[in-house]
Symmetry: C2
Subunit: 212 residues, 2 copies
């Protein structure tokens, strides 16, 4: 286990205990950089038939990992290199970018929760073995709070709640409209994108005050 993982576990224990004892409600934040989830067929087109994605490091959410593989994205106005593939593979390919990225690519930004890609724009994925032209699947991820069932009980939250979170400091910011995603496959973490993190000068692991 890496030092950062240990720090995260200690933080989770502390903030969950504080919540349980009603001493305060704080959640660690993490900025998701642009990334892509691939379906089996698209992974094969991009990296070759039978190719297996390689795990680079495990992420905070149970079972999720960053892969060693990167691809490029192309839209009508531009191209972005070095976009990380996340695993495991999914039923449908999904690209998550920031609004800043959407302007660079020339793609109409559509704000969605992960997994909800009907009616979203597409783009071209470029891998070492070939390209994939997506008809849909490009989203700007909506803010959300991952939380386990046990943590949700401590925080008095349930799946589907809408909450806010406040970052103090020079760039004090209160984010609203944060969807709570509670369940066994979640672990306490506020997920925002790089625009949101930079707007509030948030570094990964910073604690934000939960506003219920």
């Amino acid at each position: 286990m890496e030092e950062s993982d240990i720090r995260r576990l200690v933080t989770l224990s502390i903030v969950t205990n504080m919540a349980r004892e009603k001493k305060g409600y704080y959640v660690p934040a993490a900025a998701s950089g642009r990334h892509v989830h691939l379906c089996r067929a698209d992974a094969a087109k991009l990296f070759g038939t039978g190719y297996e994605l390689k795990i680079s490091r495990m992420l905070s959410q149970p079972g999720q990992y960053a892969c060693e593989e990167k691809i490029a994205l192309a839209g009508p106005k531009g191209r972005i290199e070095g976009v990380r593939v996340l695993g495991p593979e999914r039923k449908e390919t999904q690209v998550e970018i920031s609004l800043t990225d959407s302007f660079k690519l020339g793609i109409e930004p559509v704000l969605r929760m992960s997994g909800n890609i009907e009616g979203t724009p597409g783009c071209t994925l470029i891998g070492p073995a070939g390209d994939v032209k997506l008809d849909k699947g490009v989203i700007v991820a909506a803010r959300h709070l991952h939380i386990s069932d046990e943590e949700a009980a401590a925080f008095g939250l349930k799946n589907g709640d809408i909450v806010g979170a406040k970052k103090k400091g020079e760039r004090e910011t209160v984010f609203g409209n944060i969807l709570v995603r509670a369940g066994r496959e979640h672990s306490l973490e506020l997920h925002i994108d790089t625009d949101e993190a930079n707007a509030a000068a948030i570094k990964n692991g910073d604690l934000l005050e939960l506003i219920k």
Copy 2:
């Protein structure tokens, strides 16, 4: 006068009247993209001795304009092309970038109000006639609200006040720590950078609710 200028004047009239009649407090927002203010000597190094910057379009703040000229910025980790020069020339050269830009350039981001550049990092400016190696002057601009004396009276604000502003919508966001800059050289507009605009899905001219 362009259509956008007329729309802005109409908006200012409406929101100032609303404020005067205490019916609500709304301010138009504008995102400042990365840009540079040049001193005479640096303009000469970048564009040639005796070169006069050309006005491309007037900006919302009295006497301020975007120039036709663009330069490149370079830092330890990267380079950004096509950075707009703003006029008129100033006593000291100042570069305003976003946090996103600072990571690309590899420059430690320092949040400052415009004009306060002591102790800030430098970078290299690259123009058609030569380069300038700045020792200081690169800032991430702190949020601020420009407001004329007349508008400030209507809004019940004075120079130096700290306020907040709320953007409603899917990416509901409340920005805190906004410095009020009141005076005759100002005109009502909330200035944020591109990270902040994108984090809240703000388009130029969007009205935010002022929080006093």
